[in-house]
């Protein structure tokens, strides 16, 4: 909203508010004892995992590099490219266009899994 002189008035700029908010949070964290800070980080990590917006996968470093390269070309974070790639894969999987089972290789002595999927480059 502009005042009589045409200036935007009212509340703080959202970017300033965000900077102040995150700064205060960081300052409070820094003021905590080391153990409390470690606990907080742990609980924050758990919370993020609970939110379901973050997952950790073990990937081939070449694959990570290739995603990063596309992300740089598209001027977007790598997570966004990975997200789109997974959506495309899931759609193709649902249509039956791809069959991951052909990459299955039996695993020996693994208590949890029977197979791994191996991508053959040749």
């Amino acid at each position: 909203m502009k005042d009589a002189n045409g200036f935007l008035n009212g509340n703080l700029d959202p970017a300033v508010q965000a900077a102040l908010g995150s700064g205060n949070q960081r300052r409070n964290e820094r003021a905590m004892p080391k153990k409390a800070r470690a606990n907080l980080k742990k609980s924050q990590a758990k919370q993020e995992a609970r939110n379901g917006s973050r997952a950790v996968y073990d990937l081939d470093p070449e694959l990570i590099k290739a995603i990063k390269k596309i992300a740089d070309e598209l001027c977007t974070p790598a997570s966004q490219v990975a997200g789109i790639a997974l959506h495309l894969f899931l759609q193709a999987y649902e249509r039956g266009d791809v069959d991951p089972s052909i990459y299955k290789v039996p695993l020996d002595r693994n208590p949890r899994y029977e197979y791994k999927l191996v991508w053959e480059t040749d």
């Binding site: 200036f7 009212g10 970017a15 300033v16 102040l20 700064g23 001027c75």
Partner: protein, 247 residues
């Protein structure tokens, strides 16, 4: 045409970087922009990768027309520059003997239609500084988040007040841009809080401390032209949005 003065009486707070990047950003968005360097250091030409030179003396003292002196060959569409160098010191001496010397910039700008004129002021308080405040519609004050620079903001606002009272200047404070913002230091945070508490909505989005700014100056490019994603550009883009809403 909107005339904006970028000033702070403290040096090294990012005045030229702010002036050049806001100007180029506005030019990219389709506005015709003139940047006038009023500083004897002549850093606007350096920041844009241009040769050293000065058109300021012939523009302000000899009365050469703006369209003749403004350098349009900046390598950027719609961006023109009036450069400055050490000869500007002679200009100040020559101007001190003139009548209505506070009006020299506003008189020189009369009759020319750029969408935006940005005056990059020197850190010292001199005749060009006053003339810039008289000519401007809006004042932008970049400030580092340290005590001395914020003192410069207070002094700058006092100067503005004096100029408004002594002349018919229409110049008003548009915003204060916190520069070199380092989110991990307590001092940056404390000074930003202080600034926000004192000046409220006049505090514009902070511009992050970013080595890209120094790289840009070295290679003679603006942040808009640098490869990668300069963090400082996020702040400048937000400040540009804010500026374009006001004008």
């Amino acid at each position: 045409m909107t005339v904006i003065t970028v000033a702070n009486q403290k040096g090294g707070v990012g005045k030229t970087t702010t002036a050049v990047n806001l100007a180029h950003g506005a030019a990219i968005r389709g506005m015709s922009v003139l940047v006038v360097d009023l500083d004897t250091q002549g850093n606007v030409a350096d920041a844009l990768g241009m040769d050293d030179g000065s058109e300021l003396y012939s523009w302000l003292i000899n009365g050469a027309s703006t369209d003749k002196v403004a350098v349009t060959a900046t390598g950027r569409e719609r961006l023109s520059v009036i450069r400055s160098n050490k000869t500007t010191a002679q200009l100040k001496v020559a101007a001190s003997g003139m009548d209505f010397r506070e009006m020299i910039i506003s008189n020189a700008l009369q009759g020319y239609e750029f969408d935006l004129v940005i005056l990059d002021c020197p850190p010292s308080v001199d005749i060009l500084h006053t003339a810039a405040l008289v000519a401007a519609d809006l004042l932008i004050i970049p400030t580092k988040l340290d005590q001395f620079a914020i003192k410069g903001v207070i002094e700058m606002l006092r100067s503005l007040d004096s100029v408004q009272r002594a002349t018919r200047s229409r110049c008003k404070l548009a915003g204060i841009i916190p520069t070199f913002y380092d989110k991990v230091t307590n001092e940056s945070q404390a000074q930003l809080e202080n600034l926000a508490a004192t000046y409220g909505s006049f505090v514009w989005p902070p511009v992050a401390q970013d080595t890209h700014c120094r790289v840009a100056n070295r290679v003679g490019k603006t942040l808009w032209e640098l490869e990668g994603h300069p963090r400082a550009l996020v702040g400048y883009a937000e400040c540009l949005d804010k500026l374009l809403k006001i004008i």
